[in-house]
Amino acid sequence: MSRSDVLVTADWAQEHLGDPGIVFVEVDEDTSAYDGGHLEGAVKLDWKTDLQDPLRRDFVGREAFEALLSSRGIGNDDTVVLYGGNNNWFAAYAYWYFKLYGHRDVKLIDGGRKKWELDGRPLSKDAVERPATTYRASEPDLSIRAFRDEVVSSIGNKNIIDVRSPDEFSGKILAPAHLPQEQAQKGGHVPTAMNIPWSKAANEDGTFKSDEELAKLYAEQGYDEAKPTIAYCRIGERSSHTWFVLRELLGKSDVKNYDGSWVEYGSLVGVPIEK
């Protein structure tokens, strides 16, 4: 796996719009972004209504994922090219999610929707209809997903990376600052976690930094190559961005995303917290 296998430039994307065998997928929480203009031919996935179980806090199950992708006209052999707003947070989350369910060929557009807009590239408001497919998903690959018990038992012996902003890490604020600061959980972080904000891995236009810059970033922050790694944020989408950097761009082994993240951990009774 190398950078070119998992990341495409906006130029590449623009040249390949409409190619057979390639499906562009926009992933946002706010689907009004897609409705206001999207890449020509791209389908949309709603981070919450499509990818979260409507009742429990969890993914949709394998069968529901199969039905979702089938209805969007995505086939098992298609190359899925993801992009989205928020510096690709939710697109990276979807990338991780597609990998969890075993999709073979998934890529991100470097810079996502932000770079596309800043470049002044064309957007379309045309409705997109793709013929339905019969998608088959694999059993979830839990080697890339961490759960709370593993996080607690990893304190002091794995790389735990808190990718939230420094003020969230310290407990000064409880959510990213575009959201109201009223949350049920405690502020702080998992003991022994390193604070390496996701934003340090990205340029201002939303593109990823170079492999050399990224390798240097984690080495300088004390990343131990000999240990497995768990990344978390508040709800697991920014940590998907870092998971993508560590596992897909830098090729590190045994990297998990803890999508329960601080909303779960900071609400657990009796677990240790550092502030």
């Binding site: 902003s165 990213p176 959201l179 600061q181 009223e182 201002e204």
Partner: protein, 97 residues
């Protein structure tokens, strides 16, 4: 829910006795700039949040009291300004030359 809510609009339902709201609008050439990216940087200049301005050029953050920097990036250019925020409503304008 880390996706940014729609920018601008009413502050109804926001408790300004506890929340530190930083809001304002982005202007260029005598008109508001829609679709500009605005990021909030903390006292160490580290990224804290980012939103996209509304059709009226508005942005809004929920922060904490202290020193912050607002930086905007748009196809028409960029602008930056510091702000000392207190609990309640803190308003400012970002003007792109």
């Amino acid at each position: 829910m880390c996706g940014a809510p729609k920018q601008g609009g009413s502050l109804a339902g926001v408790d300004l006795s506890t929340q530190t709201v930083i809001q304002g609008s982005v202007w260029h050439d005598g008109a508001p700039v829609a679709g500009a990216y605005v990021r909030l940087l903390d006292a160490t200049d580290e990224f804290t949040a980012e939103v996209v301005t509304s059709p009226e050029g508005e942005f809004r953050f929920f922060a904490a009291p202290g020193r912050w920097t607002l930086r905007t990036l748009a196809p028409v250019g960029r602008a930056e300004r510091p702000i000392d925020a207190e609990v309640g409503l803190n308003e400012t304008t970002l003007a792109i030359d």
